[in-house]
């Protein structure tokens, strides 16, 4: 099991801020994104947009990073703080 988080515009587009996702063995971030889209096809456009960023255990990663059971994975749009 992993925790998956969505923020800001992406959170609103998906209508969801957090979910638990079954994960028995390690997988790439991109594999998990594709599995999410397979289950929720209406997420395709927002979740696979080229500007979507990813953080694994609160560190920025790219789509090839390895996710392990127990990890926290986040998807979010470009940041606009400050």
């Amino acid at each position: 099991m992993i925790k998956v988080l969505f923020f800001a515009k992406l959170r609103e587009a998906l209508g969801q801020s957090e979910l638990r996702w079954p994960l028995a063995a390690e997988a790439r971030v991109e594999d998990i994104r594709q599995a999410l889209v397979a289950k929720y096809p209406q997420w395709q456009e927002a979740l696979c947009a080229p500007n979507v960023l990813m953080a694994l255990n609160q560190e920025v990663v790219n789509a090839q990073a390895l996710v392990r059971p127990g990890d926290e994975l986040a998807f979010y749009p470009p940041v606009t703080g400050g």
Binding site: F7, A8, E59, P77, V79, G81, G82
Partner: protein, 152 residues
């Protein structure tokens, strides 16, 4: 000597003068203290903004800011630095972010302060949503912010 670094994220407002005084008091080796306050403006790209909501990623925000400040302290041999970033709902004129940097000389203090702001703008997980008379809109990331961060 190690630098005294402080990062704070929360809804509470800050007193810039007080935060600056704390940094100044760290050591009398400090020759220059640079600071920056970002505030909410009453208009953005030509449209009037009534309020703003700032969302963040609790936990990651503090880590990301901590890393940025550590990097600045290392690169410019800072003697002290403070970053306070507010979250929640804001109206025009409200303070959003404070960065204070202290070094032996002004060049280092200025560079570190600007670096922290540029990195914070492009690397820390905050998102702004503007409330206008025509509805609520998420603020788009600016290419100019990305370019500013790429300088360093």
């Amino acid at each position: 000597m190690g630098a005294t670094l402080k990062v704070q994220v929360g809804a509470a407002d800050f007193d810039a003068g007080e935060e600056i005084r704390r940094v100044q008091a760290l050591t009398d080796s400090i020759g220059g203290v640079a600071s920056f306050i970002g505030a909410m403006r009453s208009s953005n790209e030509g449209r009037k903004v009534d309020a703003m909501i700032l969302e963040h990623y609790p936990g990651m925000t503090e880590k990301a800011l901590g890393k940025i400040v550590d990097e600045a302290a290392r690169r410019w041999q800072l003697l002290g630095a403070t970053v306070v970033h507010r979250v929640g709902e804001f109206v025009p004129g409200d303070q959003i972010v404070l960065v204070v940097t202290a070094a032996s000389h002004r060049g280092e203090a200025f560079a570190a302060c600007e670096f922290i702001m540029d990195y914070l703008k492009t690397r820390a997980p905050f998102w702004k949503k503007e409330r206008t008379s025509e509805g609520d809109f998420w603020v788009d990331a600016r290419d100019s912010d990305e370019q500013a961060a790429d300088r360093w």
